[in-house]
Symmetry: C2
Subunit: 309 residues, 2 copies
């Protein structure tokens, strides 16, 4: 039998990479033959986590995958965020914490989404259900994923299950959660060395909303001044991407992880949908949203509603 | 907050009823306010289970449900098998063991399907995950659901997880599994007192396959001769249903639970799709399929493929 490939979404964030590694570790210890792969480059934040726990990055997936290749999706279930030939492969499992978008299967599958802050939190539960424990390195990666997705528990997506899993994992990994957490977030928060294309691509996800193509990118910073001073070149990069990929709307969230606020750039023919969703007015395609830090919980649902009108 | 309604599919079978009751019991003991309801009448088999363990049948759901009413779906996820105004209510959870058909949610939800023989098997796992145990009556209903769905472990849908759950539940319910199991299946297997409309409706499910409406009904018997002698009136009832509900194909599986064989009636404009799916030729709309006992695992997938061509 083929090796089952396990991967997170395109433009992988720390959860997409670390949950693929952790779930592969778990499945292999249950007797399956699996391998974690990735659908994009490793971010600075993720690299910091991998370096801290001395785990090599997964290989890039060799796309297109062979027809009927067995795969497990973690941290995503929407085709627009996955491999291009998803409809040709055999999805044997899904473990995720996002909305479900028109998912279908011919046969019953193991499909598990839970409304928690991070895929790694669900994986921690699955370890426990099998009466297993991740080793220190895997626990460290899972902890990194939870800290990253919940912005060290400041995001409104955070649940009691995330806190409980993170606490247990920090003990298994033998790290002090708050200290390590701030180091991890800061490692991913610098924009000084990034060019505009990187800033709008590092953590970008494409969504189908009605018939519209909406891309929502997010970047964490500890100070928005660097990005603000470069807003013209960033807007140019966004306009180019809209043109090249036929997007109806592009939203960039520049999230200050220290103050839990987001500076937002929104461009595209449907930018009025953004204004409608947030009852705001864009000035120079820019607005400021206080308390908005979660793309999934605070941006995708109101935008989806606006496009459903 | 409203009481969360928990229900299985239309034309409820023993799993649809008993898993709704069991999951409501579990959620209530976790502090939620839930109530099991049903979307149709109770079968003789299910009534036998309810009587054995002295549990009252759930009330019939008062349809249409109020807009945004919170609901939990068990043992189904396809809109065609649920309440008519499903798109208006708020689905907060799904626990199921069937294929997934174009399921979508605006927000992340608890959605859990597993490729096991019975929903009650998944519920048994969830009890264990919460370090809880069903009481004797609830355990008896969950055991009944597993015996019913797996035809006392003869169906190819049966997994090790189903056997393990059933064994544990039979101890909690204090019944001898084989003896009780045959009594339960026989209680539901008589067709003598049923009119043709009952025979084709008791366990019927509607599926969208491509653009076609396909209804697949199944009835368990211990002897096919009664049904065979009445095949003309049964075919008339099927023709009437096809006419009234604009169906493209109607398939009736008459499954002999002692021999694990099915006599099949297939009618409708698309009956050649049935012949194609099973490489068989219908004579008087009838054929015999040896070893075919599972609608879900052995009938739906090849028919879906035939309609995808």
């Amino acid at each position: 039998m083929d090796t089952i490939l396990i991967f997170g979404h395109k433009n992988p964030d720390t959860d997409a990479i670390c949950s693929a590694i952790a779930y592969s570790d778990l499945k292999n210890s249950l007797g399956y033959k699996t391998e974690a792969v990735r659908l994009g480059s490793i971010s600075k934040e993720t690299q910091f986590a991998l370096d801290t726990f001395s785990v090599p990055a997964p290989d890039l997936a060799a796309e297109p995958l062979r027809k009927n290749h067995a795969v497990i999706l973690v941290d995503h279930n929407e085709p627009s965020q996955s491999i291009d030939n998803l409809e040709e492969v055999n999805i044997v499992e899904v473990v995720d914490h996002h909305r479900i978008s028109n998912f279908s299967s011919d046969q019953p599958v193991y499909f598990r989404t839970e409304p928690v802050g991070c895929t790694a939190t669900i994986l921690y539960k699955i370890y426990k259900e099998h009466e297993l424990e991740p080793d220190a390195a895997i626990a460290g990666l899972m902890l990194s994923a939870i800290i990253s997705d919940t912005l060290l528990f400041k995001s409104p997506t955070t649940t009691e299950a995330d806190r409980k899993a993170a606490l247990a994992l920090s003990k298994l990994a033998d790290v002090e959660m708050e200290t390590f957490g701030m180091e991890l977030l800061k490692a991913g928060a610098g924009t000084e060395n990034l060019d505009p294309t990187d800033i709008i691509s590092i953590d970008a996800k494409l969504f189908k909303m009605g018939s519209a193509n909406v891309e929502i990118a997010q970047i964490n910073v500890v100070d928005t001044s660097n990005v603000q001073s470069r807003s013209e070149e960033i807007k140019n990069a966004i306009s180019e991407k809209i043109e090249n990929y036929d997007l109806d709307l592009f939203v960039l969230l520049i999230t200050d992880i220290l103050t839990s606020e987001s500076l937002v750039l929104a461009l595209g023919a449907e930018q009025h949908k953004f204004e409608q969703a947030f009852s705001t007015t864009l000035k120079d395609n820019t607005t400021f949203l206080s308390g908005i830090v979660s793309r999934k919980k605070q941006v995708v649902p109101p935008l989806t509603n606006a496009f459903a009108d």
